[in-house]
Symmetry: C2
Subunit: 347 residues, 2 copies
């Protein structure tokens, strides 16, 4: 910094083209460009040095050319996603050189963002906490878990909570929030290692490996003989059907994601919808983007939880921007154990 | 009355045995018994003369031997359902000879009910309104529509409302409630006659015959170019999928029934569940049985609406207990136009 007129090389991961089905590494192409380390004169932009990038399941949706709650990626431009970065230069009054920020950035070493907004590019207040946490527990997955559990699921002490994809970026937090609230919580995940993590690290009351069950209704009946009050839905499809069959009266489903469905040409049909009526279930979908105004409140609560060691967080860290495509794809095969982070640079 | 020791004949419709698939007339057997027109000495019972019986879709569920929110019928005993009756004799302090009541009774000319409860056998306060209305607009379907629309769907003036099975016992009321609230409301039904009724009698802004559409997504897009805020769900299956595809952000689905699914061995799969997340939809099932305590408030509102001709109600009336089985089955083929009532006796 200071040497602002320097033009240096900038490794980037370019989104090739829209896909259907399962994403492949070749859908994301590593290239090297150059970039001038200064924002254009008189612009409102910021220039970021990206430190940590986040792999999140919702990104699969942006690889299909369908306008949903978030626009598709642009072929030929870098993959975009949440990340943690340092401000190298700024023409924007909300950001200063040297600030650390988290928010939507590019999959590249340096990103020039035009007109960033305080809600989508957030200045990091507590830089003494691990910066990578702002891709997870202190970032989008954190507030997703917090809002989804506390606001959408309306939990009460003593209730029975089930979390799918429970060792993931969001799930591990939901389970811990449920325990802090005095709920009984069971999670499912896709390997013995993850199940051990749920029970021994995150304090779930119980956990199971869904890949070892040929029928999902039976294990849920075993773990919830009295039924499920709250289902935190991350996977969809057959799991949702099995959960509906095991819900209690007046149960609530906080629908956060359906990762099992994202790479299918046609979604699996859910057959137990009628139970929503007979059991008077409330199923509610939510997106964290509607709740970002709660972030200032959330960060204070979470900072406290982390400082007091009431909540722990497990990350799966991959070194190097060039390994980001494989890391993203790994989300859909369950390769990651905990929140998937890509380290671009540690400073 | 007076001649209490009289023993007279009692025509009854006996539930034969549990079924799967579509119900047939032969599943319900007309017989003739005798009955003494007096309650047993010292009992808490009431003896009813049944006047009007109600055919309701939920009754299909009681013909299968699965314990759901309401117990299955007992083979060898009469079909049970909502009806309007006159109290002939009573050993119960809550009911007097000569009272008119509505609630769960038997498909027979006379019913002896042990220990009836005020919430399930309701004394009729306004006997000057058509007594048959207590099987519909002033009974269970009425409070279902009222609670489902006003409490579960959280309507706001100017919102876009879609009602399926819209000319039925519940749907015709939901549409009229929506108009009274200042919503735009479209209904669908299964014949030209019903569609005309929706538009010309109940004041729906528009209506269509779903049987004339080979795809349900397209007509919904046509009638709701801006999308649906509220769906009052009576049919399930493909219709639910098509509605999900046409819902607006933050839409609400009040799930009341899924009549298209009741006779299937396996429910149709609903594939658009993921849209619940991306559109932040709240889908909530409800049963009127949870809301019967609202009846006293409801009846005052409805009496007013009827007296002031703000709400109209169409019944499809069948004469004679012996025709009740065919009338019940007709619900599932859409034979009825309006609320299906069976007249056992007009006094």
């Amino acid at each position: 910094m200071g040497n602002g007129d320097e033009i240096i090389s900038n490794k980037r991961i370019i989104f090739r083209d829209y896909i259907s089905g399962f994403p492949k590494e070749s859908d994301m192409i590593p290239t090297t460009d150059t970039i001038r380390l200064k924002v254009p004169e008189g612009s409102n932009s910021v220039l970021l040095k990206n430190l940590y990038l986040s792999c999140d399941p919702y990104m699969r949706g942006r690889m299909t050319n369908v306008d949903s709650y978030i626009a598709p990626f642009t072929p030929g431009l870098p993959v975009m996603g949440y990340g943690v970065a340092k401000v190298i230069d700024s023409g924007n009054p909300n950001y200063n050189e040297g600030d650390y920020v988290w928010g939507i950035t590019g999959w590249e070493q340096y990103s020039l963002l035009e007109n960033p907004e305080p809600l989508t590019l957030v200045k990091i207040k507590y830089t003494y906490l691990p910066l990578s946490y702002y891709t997870g527990i202190l970032g989008m997955p954190g507030i997703t878990a917090y809002v989804g559990f506390h606001e959408i699921a309306s939990p009460k002490k003593g209730e029975f909570v089930f979390v799918s994809a429970a060792s993931g970026a969001v799930g591990q937090l939901v389970g811990q929030f449920a325990k802090l609230m005095g709920c009984y919580v069971v999670g499912c995940a896709g390997s013995k290692e993850k199940v051990d993590l749920l029970k021994n690290k995150f304090g779930f009351d119980d956990a199971f490996n869904y890949k070892e069950e040929h029928d999902l209704v039976a294990p849920l009946k075993r773990y919830f003989p009295e039924g499920i009050d709250i289902y935190f839905e991350n996977v969809g499809g057959k799991m949702l059907d099995a959960v509906l069959a095991n819900m209690k009266l007046h149960g609530r489903i906080a629908a956060c994601g359906m990762i099992s469905q994202y790479n299918l040409e046609e979604s699996e049909g859910v057959r137990n919808n009628f139970l929503i009526i007979t059991k008077r279930i409330r199923m509610e979908g939510f997106l964290v983007f509607d709740h970002l105004h709660d972030y200032p409140k959330f960060i204070e609560v979470m900072k406290q939880y982390i400082t007091e060691e009431k909540i722990v967080y497990v990350e799966d860290t991959v070194e190097g921007l060039e390994n980001a495509p494989a890391a993203l794809i790994g989300l859909f095969t369950g390769r990651n154990v905990g929140k998937q982070v890509v380290v671009v640079s540690r400073e």
